[in-house]
């Protein structure tokens, strides 16, 4: 069984705000000294794939697909080290993460998926950490004529079906679909595991296929529906923090309760 996990590189969200510089002339965001990282929910999607592989052993082949303007291989190596079997990248200068809308992104991913072929299950994070759009999976499913299940908190496969525990208010529902299918994964699946030293070494010999836009049949701009009009740097609402002091935890606790009561914050 073949699983494709779509993983996107995004600028590290823990970078300070000053590192995200808006270029108003070209209406784009420039990143100053920020390292790329794997988008968090995409890491959860890979973890879900690995959990299927843990359960099913030898029959599962996991291929990671990444599309972007410039893909740092060293960042993608993590996915191979934790257990993906191979990696396909599609790079082009036009693949600017936030300028592409979800329709364009879906059309590029579909073209790449059709190019590499062989899939039973396609996993994605529930939304990307940069745009937070959360639409691409529905687009891939719609274009490839497959069912899509969103917000998975657990994914397994059995007898040609994917079985998903899916997030609903105050709990989950169990949903299934006949493969091939698309599933989006939420963080409840668990954080991506760490590789061992041996796995990191072995990852270096795993196959990587690097493609460009000419290798896949796609004209994303024809799909475009949404445009960026403006980019703004928001002000974080800083507050003046009153620090509570005390010699012992007991005193700190008493002083906080006293201060909050005095200031009529709590009654």
């Amino acid at each position: 069984m073949n699983i494709i996990v779509c993983m996107k590189q995004v600028p590290d969200h823990t970078a300070p705000r000053a590192a995200f510089v808006i270029n108003h002339t070209e209406n784009k965001v420039e990143f100053r000294g920020i390292q790329p990282v794997l988008s968090l929910f995409d890491e959860n999607a890979l973890e879900a794939a690995l959990q299927i592989k843990d359960a099913e052993k030898d029959n599962i082949r996991i291929r990671v697909l990444s599309v972007g303007r410039r893909i740092a291989k060293r960042v993608m190596m993590k996915s191979l080290a934790v257990g993906a079997d191979d990696l396909v990248t599609v790079e082009d200068a036009a693949f600017d993460a936030i300028r592409l809308d979800s329709f364009e992104t879906a059309s590029i991913l579909v073209a790449a998926i059709e190019k590499i072929g062989h899939w039973d299950l396609i996993l994605l994070g529930r939304q990307a950490a940069d745009t937070n759009a959360g639409q691409t999976a529905a687009g891939i499913a719609s274009k490839l004529g497959m069912p899509v299940i969103t917000l998975a908190t657990k994914v397994s496969v059995s007898q040609g079906k994917v079985i998903v525990e899916r997030l609903i208010p105050n709990g989950y529902e169990i949903v299934e679909a006949v493969l091939p299918a698309v599933v989006t994964v939420s963080n409840e699946v668990g954080e991506l595991r760490y590789p061992t030293i041996v796995q990191i070494r072995e990852a270096k010999s795993k196959p990587i296929l690097s493609l460009g836009i000419r290798d896949i049949d796609v004209h994303p701009e024809e799909a475009k529906k949404v445009k960026i009009r403006t980019l703004i740097s928001p002000e974080l609402n800083h507050r003046e923090c009153k620090y509570i002091t005390g010699e012992t935890p007991a005193e700190l606790g008493r002083n906080l309760v006293f201060t909050l009561t005095r200031d009529k914050i709590i009654g």
């Binding site: 969200h13 529905a138 007991a250």
Partner: protein, 336 residues
């Protein structure tokens, strides 16, 4: 591009089988702005089963027309049944725009509708504005480090509004609006995923959305055991227990406890952030709290920048001492 003549239609979400979701009233606010800009009217669309009570309630919000698709297969949310019914309703309504709250349901439904109708979608909008002939939809990108304003090229277009971004519209004194029923016309060929079971947890204590006080824990809590201590503190304060993302990932708390960009968005009177470093995604979910109290071992933690009161210290030591200190206040006869 200006709007067509079709209405702006607001999808009414129904909670617990019979209640109109709060997100509907905020989405309605956005819909009115869009309708005003494009000189058209606002209608509502209700999908569900036995929805008479909800439909009656919606008549108090000054809408022109309330479209109702009432079908036994729409009693609980099924993605493909809802999509199929929505597509059928759109054929009659021919909307200029479709507006809904950004809820767990619309996270699933809105992208399906977008690709089905070939309609541009901006999800999780936090603001809208009319700028030289075009509606601009704002949302945080790059984890809130940048806000992007988008225009949408298609008619219809779709927007989902982040909860608590706009004021809910007010209920009027009298009923208004005609009700038009549309058949669901569900086709078996549309249905490919099967819902086989539900597991709904009984929620102990106060819900985050309803709480005046929230005590929330983060990675610094270190264990599920410590969250049980936090629940004791919460009960004393009449507060709800919340969490940042790591405790949910770690399985220390259920996912409905998660406050933040991909969890619940809250704005209580008092928010205790305990062992929470203050990632930008978490802050997006609680920055509008009236008072923020932060407890963290790291004096440089981001959370102190948005806190009104802070203690640099460990939650392991401070939760028990806070429980004790609040207990003393309660017992003290000279309290006030």
């Amino acid at each position: 591009m200006r709007g067509g003549t079709g209405p702006v239609v607001v999808l009414a979400e129904i909670e617990e089988g019979e209640k109109l979701a709060a997100s509907f009233l905020e989405a309605l606010h956005a819909a009115r702005k869009i309708a005003e800009a494009y000189e058209t009217r606002v209608d509502a669309l209700v999908l569900g089963n036995n929805v008479e009570k909800v439909v009656e309630e919606i008549t108090y919000y000054g809408l022109d027309t309330i479209y109702v698709v009432d079908d036994a297969h729409l009693g609980t949310y099924h993605p493909e049944c809802y999509l199929s019914a929505f597509r059928r309703a759109c054929k009659d309504i021919r909307p200029t725009a479709i507006v809904m709250g950004h809820t767990l349901r619309s996270i699933d439904l809105a992208p399906r509708i977008a690709f089905d109708l070939d309609a541009g979608l901006i999800s999780d909008c936090t603001g809208i504005d009319f700028d030289s002939d075009e509606m601009v939809f704002f949302k945080p990108v790059f984890s809130g480090n940048v806000v992007a304003g988008y225009t949408i090229e298609t008619r219809p277009f779709i927007v989902s509004m982040r909860p608590k971004s706009l004021e809910p519209v007010r209920r009027l004194e009298k009923e208004q609006g005609s009700i038009i029923r549309i058949p669901a016309d569900l086709a078996a060929s549309d249905i490919r995923i099967a819902v086989t079971d539900w597991v709904v947890r009984e929620h102990a204590g106060i819900k985050l959305e309803d709480a005046a006080i929230i005590v929330a824990g983060g990675r610094g809590m270190g264990s599920a055991e410590r969250f049980r201590e936090l629940a004791v503190l919460a009960e004393m304060l009449g507060a709800a227990v919340g969490a940042s993302r790591p405790p949910v990932d770690m399985g220390w708390v259920p996912s409905e406890s998660q406050v933040g960009q991909t969890g619940v968005i809250v704005a209580p009177d008092v928010y205790f952030a305990i062992g929470i470093s203050g990632s930008i995604q978490h802050i997006a979910g609680m920055a509008n709290s009236r008072t923020i109290v932060a407890i963290n071992t790291d004096p440089e933690a981001n959370i102190f920048k948005i806190a009104d009161y802070g203690i640099v210290g460990s939650c392991a030591e401070l939760i028990p001492s806070l429980i004790e200190a609040f207990q003393e206040t309660v017992n003290s006869p000279s309290r006030n």
